[in-house]
């Protein structure tokens, strides 16, 4: 059981590392938010749950903490992306399409 916990924690750490790498390599704010959300969700989930598996007494607590992270992580990324767009941060040059101008809230900006 102890080693299973270590493996799960290790997988979580690996995903967190890859998320950090993504933060460096992606070109603009929005893609970086993507890396920051996706990898940290599973990364943090596995890391915390892995700790719970190595210490069985903590398992239910860690499960609840991990579920709270799962529920709140998308909200933070959503508000970061929205704030970036509202303040006029431009998309990377590779971007294909930007349909946000169709809304009144957004077309005035930029």
């Amino acid at each position: 059981m102890y080693y299973l916990g270590l493996v799960v924690t290790g997988v979580g750490v690996l995903f967190l590392c890859l998320g950090g790498l993504g933060l460096f390599r992606f070109p603009d704010v929005y893609n970086r938010v993507q890396a920051g959300t996706k990898c940290t969700t599973l990364g943090a989930f596995c890391t915390i749950l892995g700790v719970g598996i190595t210490q069985p007494g903590w398992f239910w607590k860690t499960l609840i903490i991990a579920l709270f992270i799962l529920a709140t992580n998308p909200i933070s990324s959503h508000s970061l992306g929205r704030a970036a767009y509202k303040s006029g941060t431009e998309l990377a040059e590779e971007s294909v399409v930007d349909m946000a101008g169709e809304f009144d809230d957004y077309s005035e900006e930029g």
Binding site: F15, H78, G81
Partner: protein, 165 residues
């Protein structure tokens, strides 16, 4: 009737979370949890109905369980997808912002949809405006609203429609 039900369900959920946090079955811990759960659910069960949360039930619970499994599969896929893009030497991205429609009614249902989309591969929700969602897509496959709705939203909407019906 539905108010009594939602009071009961809210109370059970709070009490279960309490047991999860304390992880003991000693009478005094359970008693304190009972008092706190009762207190909180008397205050909040009206707000809980007013927010548009569905009154819980067995069928909804089962669909929510299936939904969580589907969501988990998508989360793992999302992580592998972004990790692959991050380590690939050429950083194969094709980003853009698209709009999709949703048929879901109610703020809570839309919130759950928006958060689920954020957790799935290559997409995150920038804003919810009425029944449109503004999505940043890391690898744009189509620029038409209908196709994007089909690709991004539909896999969750069919479950959420039943859960929040």
């Amino acid at each position: 009737m539905s108010k009594v039900k939602s009071f009961f369900y809210l109370f059970s959920a709070l009490f279960l979370i309490w047991i999860g946090f304390t992880t003991t079955f000693q009478p005094q811990e359970l008693g304190l949890g009972l008092i706190i759960s009762l207190f909180l659910s008397t205050i909040f069960f009206k707000t809980y109905v007013g927010l548009g949360f569905p009154p819980l039930g067995i069928k909804r619970f089962l669909f929510a369980l299936i939904y969580i499994i589907v969501l988990f599969k998508e989360i793992v896929k999302a992580n592998l997808d972004v990790a692959y893009r991050a380590v690939h030497p050429e950083v194969p991205i094709n980003p853009g912002i698209v709009i999709i429609n949703t048929d879901l009614e109610g703020d809570v249902a839309r919130m759950v949809l928006a958060n689920s989309i954020t957790l799935t591969p290559g997409t995150f929700t920038l804003d919810v405006i009425g029944d449109h969602l503004l999505i940043h897509w890391i690898n744009v496959e189509t620029t038409s609203k209908e196709e994007a709705t089909e690709l991004i939203g539909k896999r969750f909407e069919k479950y959420l429609k039943i859960i929040f019906a």
